[in-house]
Amino acid sequence: MNNVFVYIEIEDKEIADVSLELLTKGRELANTLGVKLEAVVIGKDIKGVAPELAKYGADTVWVADNEIFAPFRTLPHTAVMVGLIKQEKPQIALFGATPVGRDFAPRVSSALHSGLTADCTELVIGDHKDAKTGTEYSNLLYQIRPAFGGNIIATIVNPECRPQMATVREGVMRKEALATPAKGEIREIDWKAMVSDADLAVRIIDRHIEERKINIKGASVIVAGGYGVGSKEGFKLVHELAEVLGGEVGASRAAVDAGFTEHERQIGQTGVTVRPKLYIACGISGQIQHTAGMDGSAMIVSINTDPEAPINNIADYAIIGSVEEVIPKMIKYYKQNSK
């Protein structure tokens, strides 16, 4: 009772990274609150994931395992989650801000009349005093998120309704396996009592999954281009540098909107969050919507003609110069000095 729930998303029998990231954060929250961390897995042939979830801190692994749950459909997932939350009364329930989480978490919150905060970038336990009534609350979940195109950071609380629900985007939190795994005790969800025939009314008649072509999330070196790169042709230089350094190419929203490169490469609040060893920002001004997705990089190098560009404030090295001039030199001196 009153534990912390994390919904575990399974894609192609693999646990989604965001779910492990949420377990790591959930473990920290559960420790602060002195409660258990419970993972909820809904799918088909999924019991094998329990040891992995235990490694990331799950004390309990709730399982609803049946073919009706895969591929994901909104209504059966909602029915199981709502049923289990009513039964177990967790104080916190976390979901990945993936298309799946963003599809059914709002429905769960609506059914339970419980607040839901989307796309949180930080979750912390803290106290709260209601300014109007003076009522004091202890140990609430602070749900912290950028709002208004990233121009402000809002802290949201959910004083009265339970569970306190939040979604978090993939890559925003760190995942970290425990030295000693948690118990990971499997418990069966009594899903047959929760799912009705009406919940199966939507039918999937065709499904087509594309291979993931671009993997900027896992890259240790990222060379990212912005609007300042100037053109699709200019992006070839960015690609060249990435290839020589063994890295991936990223982009700012402005560069993607201008059609310089693919949407899959977009880094930032509305794209992917990355934290590579080295981030080279080429012609990127450094608007908050971009930096929100990369300021955790271990080292940041910026190339910009404008000495006043905001990106230079967070860069370890700010090269004042044009992309066309600087990138060929970087390639040249990297080749000369490596090995």
């Binding site: 894609e11 591929p71 909104t74 909602t78 298309p99 963003r102 599809d103 059914f104 709002p106 429905r107 919150s109 609506s110 059914a111 009349h113 419980s114 839901l116 905060t117 989307a118 796309d119 709260h128 209601d130 950028p146 208004f148 195109g149 121009n151 402000i152 950071i153 809002a154 802290t155 949201i156 609380v157 959910n158 309704c161 009314a201 939507v202 039918r203 999937i204 008649i205 499904r207 087509h208 509305t270 080295l278 908050i288 271990a298 190098v301 905001p310 230079n312 404030n313 967070i314 860069a315 370890d316 700010a318 090269i319 004042i320 110069g321 030199k329 970087m330 001196y333 000095n337 090995k339």
Partner: protein, 291 residues
Amino acid sequence: MEKVTKIVVMAKQVPDTRNVGKDAMTPEGTVNRAALAAIFNPEDLNALELALQMKDRIGSATVHVLTMGPQRAADIIREAMFRGADGGYLLSGKEFAGSDTLATSYALSCALRKINPDIIVAGRQAIDGDTAQVGPQVAEKLNLPQVTYAEELVEIKEGEATIKRRLERGSETVVTPLPAVITVNSSAKECRPRNAKRVMKYKYALATSELATASDKAKNFIEERPYLHIVEFAAADVNPDASQLGLSGSPTKVKKIENVVLQAKESKTLTAEDKDIEALMQELIASHTLG
């Protein structure tokens, strides 16, 4: 008589968050909408297009826009009429102020119960919050199935729609019974533009509260042309449980709002000269940041 399929598009007038000034937030942390340009939420236009495609295919159907907001939100209903909608409903009143997504979806679901549509379409999310919650929350409140991330209308027939929807990597096609709530992705077809004849026909359309302050001439004009009357619901018109509306009906509260300040790091400025670039590359290699 042939049955007329009633399609309702939930749409929102949003502040243009791509252009945010200092006075955009009130001290209470809510949005100061008056300080920002108001636009038709982009994905709601994709939703309108999908609804109009449904109407094109069904033939005997109507498309109405439902929006919750202040009086000026009637602008997006007129805009939708210029592009092909038959009319709209404005849900307006101070009771709705301060609503979070759950209170918003409750209010909309009360209005939808009154309208009783056969199909509900909405944009996936609004650019002022990016939450994508209201569509699914409305569907739950009305106990209807939902199809999110819709990209293409494949087929529509009596009691059933076939829709292609976007997945994280790929797409799937689903068949949903109707009524249902369908939320439309920005990758769906762009909305058709204004039609000059429709602009001429609908430019004098007014919502009830706008009509109240209009000239007698305008009142008479609209009285003779009921299709120019945008239906306006006050809170009491949709029979809500008042405790579930507005700020008091919102489980989430804004505790704190902070402006974003970039933390300046110890930053070294380099020139584009060869010696600077060579020294940098040597250091990146020596520190094993590279290689």
